[in-house]
């Protein structure tokens, strides 16, 4: 047949083009900063990461998970076999039948992709992505037909010239999408970049069920700080951005997006791609940043990101709740990127919006965000009869009080917790005025210099005393102590053999050990709000619920709870930068609470308490779990 050469040629040419594209793309990534990754081990681990970890996330949407296995698996297999059967002309019935099977599987998947795209939810990007199911279908059908002769189902040369022309056109169309597009920036890019991203992920600890949520320390004292230009990101961060499938799951869970603040994590990641690849966001076909028109953003690898690509308000809208990261099937790290860019704005430009500058200045001058006198830190405990570490030098438990010490509302939580500790006869001490702000707010606002300073000074104080456990009622301090201080603790080893616990975890142990006598709770319906820094950051979903259950409370769960809990709006310095939106995040969360019919919402964080209580009454009562427990405590009569 006269066109015999056409199919292999097309495949070969497109493979070569794809190869060129791949090299080009890799060079774009390599413009980023060096980062230590074990390339070989990463590549070896990649299939497992894909099958296990990635699919673990994709599994949350059963429909798309099955669809993806069929389509993706089918395509990878089919493409391999196509190379053998059609490019190298390996004449094997078995291979041909295998190929047919793979194509059927792919076709089956593609049909479901097609169906989803008939009426796609708003979180999905449109544009070229609408074309993808058609390309998938074309690919599977075309090669199915092409392979039939090889499988001996149809005679060689079946169909004649016209069919050959049609088929060739279809081959071209589908291969352009599937091969050329994969490395030249089409929707299929996600497969190529995604696979490598899994292999070279910056937080390999996340695979295999691990958790890695602490921010990476900024290097201080260089000619610049934080990420100003796309090339200031680590190369594997850039690679990560390229892996985005624009599935919009991050967008769907982002509280800032829902509140109408100018942030959409999906668009943010796409803008990062625009940045390091150069160009504009014209082609972006998903939801925009609320109230920001698409098409005006311009960027390049060496251009300052906040000069024209992303408005700083976008970065400052984020509450660092990690809902997007938790939800992202490609395991992209939005929060890292956002804080990296904030570091530049704060440390280099001195441009932390709203109260940010003042709060940072206060933290620097007084070690607490509101500029209170450092010597008034322990006033709340004047009547609490608590040991000071300075006096006792050692204790079983160190109670990390946090800046709640300065706030009247939070003090109620602190007192409730102390009451419980006393009832359980825990050997506890506090640092008193020696304690400093944990640095959480400074770090999320991008001021890593101040964070590191506080971390080191806190560690120096901690290293003077002996204790086995640190307990804190503040999940933000908890996260810093548990996950972020280690980077600065290599000399002192202040926390090396110390267990850092959130108060709910600790109280749960006390209850299970029978050290607290609690009455059953007789109030109305209760729901529980998972604080981001306790749940997603530290994986503690059970202890609070077990505690509530121990009071006989059957928690009326909100639709978004556990790892999908919606942020209260209080994290990441968001209440300080206070970027205007259309709604308040806390109001939306309170609506979630109200929709369960609960009269009381239990929380495990003073910040959540403040945010939820900031919602205009009438609304359900907000209480920390420590307060609820303290209220049900049966005190032994002496």
């Amino acid at each position: 047949m006269m066109f015999d050469w056409l199919t292999p040629t097309l495949i070969a040419v497109l493979l070569v083009l794809a190869g060129i594209g791949a090299v080009r793309r890799m060079n774009l990534w390599r413009a980023g900063q060096a980062d230590k990754v074990d390339l070989i081990a990463g590549l070896m681990a990649m299939p497992k990461r894909y099958l296990h970890d990635l699919h673990h996330v994709v599994e949350r949407d059963k429909y798309i998970s099955r669809t993806h296995v069929a389509t993706g698996g089918g395509f990878v297999l089919a493409m391999l076999l196509v190379v053998f059967v059609h490019l190298f002309g390996v004449d094997s019935k078995v291979l041909a039948w295998l190929l047919l099977a793979a194509l059927v599987m792919m076709f089956y998947g593609a049909v479901f992709v097609f169906k989803r795209r008939l009426n796609p939810p708003s979180r999905l990007s449109k544009g070229p992505w609408m074309r993808l199911p058609k390309s998938l279908l074309t690919f599977s059908i075309t090669f199915f037909v092409l392979t039939l002769p090889a499988a001996g189902v149809l005679p060689e040369g079946f169909g004649g010239g016209l069919l050959t022309v049609v088929l060739s056109f279809c081959i071209l169309a589908s291969l352009v999408e599937m091969l050329f597009g994969m490395t030249w920036g089409g929707p299929m890019k996600h497969a190529f970049a995604g696979a490598l991203h899994l292999a070279f992920h910056r937080r390999p600890e996340r695979f295999g069920g691990g958790r890695s949520t602490g921010l990476k320390a900024a290097v201080l004292g260089e000619t610049s700080h934080g990420v100003a230009k796309p090339t200031d990101f680590k190369w594997n961060q850039l690679l990560g951005f390229d892996a985005c499938v624009q599935c919009g799951r991050c967008e769907a869970v982002c509280p800032a997006f829902a509140a109408g603040q100018p942030l959409n994590p999906k668009k943010l990641i796409q803008d990062m791609v625009v940045g390091f690849a150069g160009g504009t966001d014209e082609k972006y076909a998903g939801s925009p940043y609320p109230n920001v028109e698409v098409g005006n953003a311009k960027g390049g690898p060496d251009q300052i990101i906040t000069d024209g690509l992303i408005h700083p308000d976008t970065l400052w809208s984020c509450t660092t709740c990690r809902a997007c990261v938790e939800e992202c099937p490609m395991m992209i790290e939005h929060v890292d990127a956002i804080v990296d860019m904030r570091r530049f704005l704060t440390l280099e430009k001195g441009d932390t919006p709203n109260k940010g500058a003042q709060v940072l200045e206060n933290i620097i001058a007084t070690d607490n965000p509101n500029g209170f006198s450092p010597s008034s830190r322990t006033h709340w405990a004047a009547d609490q009869n608590l040991n000071l570490m300075k006096d006792v030098q050692q204790a079983d438990v160190l109670f990390w009080v946090s800046d709640g010490a300065f706030d009247m509302r939070s003090q109620r939580i602190l007192r409730a917790f102390v009451k419980l500790l006393k009832a359980a006869n825990v050997d506890v001490a506090i640092l008193g005025d020696e304690e400093l702000d944990s640095g959480d707010v400074a770090r999320r606002l991008g001021d890593d210099a101040t964070f590191q300073n506080l971390a080191k000074r806190n560690l120096a104080i901690l290293s003077q005393y002996r204790f086995k456990t640190i307990v804190t009622t503040d999940p933000h301090a908890f996260h810093c102590l548990r996950n972020e201080y280690a980077d600065f603790d290599s000399d002192l080893n202040a926390l090396a053999s110390v267990e850092v616990l959130h108060h709910t975890t600790f109280l749960n142990r006390l209850v299970q050990e029978g050290r607290l006598q609690l009455d059953t709770f007789k109030g109305g319906k209760v729901t529980y709000h998972d604080p981001c820094y306790l749940g997603r950051y530290n994986g503690e979903y059970d202890a609070p619920r077990e505690l509530l259950a121990s009071l006989g409370i059957d928690v009326a769960e909100m639709e978004r709870s556990g790892y999908r809990s919606r942020c209260c709006g209080g994290g990441g310095g968001a209440p300080i930068t206070d970027i205007p939106g259309e709604r308040r995040i806390a109001d939306m969360r309170m609506e979630d609470v109200v929709s369960t019919g609960a009269e009381l919402v239990a929380v495990g964080c003073q910040q959540c308490t403040a945010m939820l209580e900031g919602v205009v009454e009438p609304r359900p009562v907000v209480k920390d779990i420590a307060e609820i427990l303290a209220g049900q405590l049966i005190e032994e009569a002496h």
């Binding site: 700080h225 704060t346 001195g350 441009d351 500058a357 200045e361 001058a365 450092p374 210099a449």
Partner: protein, 258 residues
Amino acid sequence: MQPSVNVVSLVSVGRHPQSDRSRRADQDARAVELGLKLAGKNLTLVHAGDPENPVLRQYAGMGLDAFTVLRQKSYSDVLPIIGNFLTENNAHVVLMGIRAESGESSGMLPYLLAEKLGWPLLSRVADILHVENGKADVLLALPRGQRRAVTVSLPFIATVDNAAKDARQSAYGPGIRASITVLDAEQTADNMAASWAISPAKPRAKRMKVVKAKNAADRFKAATAKPVGGGGNVLKQGTPAEKAQAIFDLLLEEKVIR
């Protein structure tokens, strides 16, 4: 702004009112802010004291690549060296805070400088609108948010009021990278201050309303009557008109309505 106008901001080491810790002084930082508005990066930032003091980096972090320190021991009189520096460097506009946050905080330095140099001085400046043809249009801050416009001829000294624009945030990176020029200068000891006794501030009792009663009934009344508005008066009863009257009386008494 013509580049020919030399703007100098004089800064001192401030003190945080709650923690007592060194910081950039609020008014001095506003003086830098105003200086940056007038001269941008050409602003000359000067401190007389210890060049190693890290607080100086907080001023530089407002966007200056370099600053000058006239090296001095603490407790010495900085007037002569600053005066010399200003004349030698041909300063046109000298900006500083009204009062230092530490030490005597007498606020006399600008006046002494002005006297020494024979330059006009404006105190409590809220803004400098423009500097042109050897003259500057200045807004002075008056109480209650009022402003007065004044024109002054160059060179002049201005102290910057708290009503002036807030100082911008100090950025860490530029701050630590800024270069310092240290000028060694003659030391003049401040002998008088050495004889002073300095102690933590004693709280001052707020003056009681002294009632000089002429008879027993008045004395009794004075001793028992609740001071108007004091200690949380809650009016529940009465018509809206009566309640409005109570508020009106308080506003009159506080002289916010005249």
